[in-house]
Chain length 154, copies 2
């Protein structure tokens, strides 16, 4: 399992757009570069701020629409969350998530044993599995060091 290096791959954008008959616009290119560059799981607003540094006039709506489009064609993923703003993940390699229940951060991790989990036999008729992910919920290192117990959500 190779790790995600965060490398921007313009060919992936080209290929994805071509496959679905979408146009390659400067806005889409910029959003794609930005979401790939960030090592985390940014929100639309964070990405908008980042893209704006190089593309002053891009609107938040376009960023939102672009991200949804990318997610629809499988170029990026919307990560699972508990109610805050949507977060996006450019990491298309098989990986798993750590959810910190205190600060809301979601961190990728790799574990080969989890990659090969067999789908339960009794589900195979009823549900067509396209991807799997293990979610570990708990407390991240940073939050463990903050002893003060607070139950904030993100």
């Amino acid at each position: 399992m190779q790790k995600w290096t965060g490398t921007t791959t313009p060919e992936m954008l080209r290929a994805g757009c071509r496959e679905y008959g979408l146009r390659i616009t400067p806005q889409r290119t910029a959003v794609y570069e930005e979401v790939c560059r960030s090592g985390t799981h940014p929100t639309a607003e964070e990405l908008h701020a980042g893209v704006r540094r190089r593309f002053a006039n891009i609107s938040l709506d376009t960023v939102n629409r672009t991200l949804l489009t990318f997610a629809r064609i499988g170029l990026i993923e919307i990560i699972e969350g508990y109610g805050g703003p949507r977060r996006y993940d450019p990491n298309r390699t098989l990986h798993h998530h750590l959810h910190c229940l205190r600060c809301g951060t979601v961190v990728d991790f790799y574990h080969e044993e989890y990659d090969t989990l067999a789908v339960p036999a009794n589900l195979q008729h009823k549900f067509k599995v396209l991807s799997k992910k293990v979610i570990l919920k708990g407390t991240c290192g940073r939050c463990q060091s903050i002893k003060k117990k607070h139950h904030d959500r993100k």
Copy 2:
């Protein structure tokens, strides 16, 4: 692993409230009964509609606050989602989730092999794991029978 029967257990509400010094109000009782009764993962609004049938004057705000309170004390859980309204889960037994990417439904399933997954050794120092869940993403039976391909989100 016993399955969740959806049985309302007033003692659990009493115990949870007592432990955290919370009052047992008619509203809390009603919301708790309603969320336990529903076999699915209802939204605050759905629960509000349900509770209202017996408790005409309860406000949506109270339902929202009550659900957050219950989640904070571990009486229920907020399930992972991709951006729609929050959904709540009264099922406190160890189980896993099927996410239908077409219709957005989340269905519980049980699989002992998944219950005993070992936490990766290299994580144990950095992250304190409190719970684990396997998420299978794909297409549910109902959506498979609808051949029309549509990429709606929930």
